[in-house]
Point group: C2
Chain length 225, copies 2
């Protein structure tokens, strides 16, 4: 038999994926309104699963369902970015400390190490998109190693909310050479089992990243994304 599983995905799940893709790709721009009927027609299904998906996405902070006005794709303001980065800084640093406490052996840190080498390779090739993907993977794996599933979920949601803004600034900023050094230092601290160092280094890393991003947005008058 063919190897692929038939994958019986519900329409509601499809709507969720598709809407997320449409939002992240910018096909549904920030601040725009869309009727449930339009979206349903676009996805080739009825309003019901689309509406359910919209409700869930509202819970994830990506859009807002407004009575008789359709769903509005929520723009991210600079103030939102600051809030989100503050949460990310706090929870990721906590995860870094937790990971260091667990005493992982090198084999278990292989995945994290790999994301760093990927970033370094992307940096050498000046491939910003590859770098961003590896950077995402690093942060995702880091919180995973922290071992707190709530933190993983919250961080995932926050990252989703700033995804568009990060994409915009990706080509505006200088190549992040310092970032890579920071990442490797965090890995070393985790590998050495030094929670305080892992926490502090990552905290400083995220704070610096936040400041770069905020400055960039302010300079370019990008108050809503």
């Amino acid at each position: 038999m063919s190897a692929v599983a038939p994958k019986p995905k519900s329409n509601s799940a499809v709507a969720l994926e598709e809407l997320r893709h449409l939002i992240f790709s910018g096909e549904l721009p920030a601040g725009s309104d869309h009727l449930e009927s339009e979206l349903a027609a676009r996805l080739g299904m009825s309003r019901t699963p689309v509406r359910e998906a919209a409700l869930q996405l509202e819970g994830q902070g990506l859009l807002k369902v407004r009575a008789r006005k359709g769903v509005r794709i929520l723009p991210i303001s600079i103030e939102d970015m600051i809030e989100i980065y503050d949460v990310l800084t706090e929870l990721e640093s906590m995860a870094a400390a937790s990971a260091a406490k667990k005493g992982y052996d090198p084999k278990q840190l292989q995945t994290l190490e790999r994301t760093i080498t990927d970033m370094e390779a992307a940096l050498s090739a000046a491939d910003r998109d590859a770098w961003a993907a590896a950077d995402d993977a690093f942060h995702a794996e880091l919180v995973q190693l922290g071992g707190n599933s709530r933190v993983v979920a919250i961080v995932g949601q926050m990252v989703d909310q700033v995804r568009r803004a990060k994409a915009v600034t990706l080509y505006m900023r200088p190549l992040p050479t310092q970032s890579n050094k920071d990442h490797r230092s965090v890995l070393e601290a985790i590998s050495d089992g030094d929670p305080q160092a892992a926490h502090d280094i990552h905290y400083a890393h995220r704070t610096a990243a936040k400041n770069v991003l905020i400055t960039l947005l302010r300079q370019n008058r990008l108050h809503n994304l």
Copy 2:
């Protein structure tokens, strides 16, 4: 005219409120399954708004919608409690530090002060329920003063998830006299504009509270609530 606003609440919103109440009151016990049709009949509406409410509650981590098996009220394990308290410790301490940085004047800290005097009064009267309510109010106001709306939302969700467990242990633990001293110290640190102190004191406070709770649950073999 009569003073009360007509309050045109949608059935979906009503379902959300009612289901939350049924869960927190224990009328829908942890681990129990319930058909959408049953719940709809119970709330006097059709399945549609009930289903929408269930989807949102699933996003809030209070229940799980299982295909063809109804919704299951999610029990909270000790491991869940640890995860949640770790997040609460981190984010509330962050909020305490932020609040201290803002330089609030006494008038703006009136509400927080009030929750502390309420706790002290409840403690003198040995009124555990009143104490718990005031304690909730203190933590809610604290994160509010922190000024990060994401933190407010996340902490609110986490508090909801541990609400049942806290209710169970409320009458098992000794009267929390130390807690009140901690609260007042946090208020003082915020009032003094000392972020580090506010952070550290609250962090220690939450950590201690976590340990008390976990120990209590373990001793009483309450692994699921």
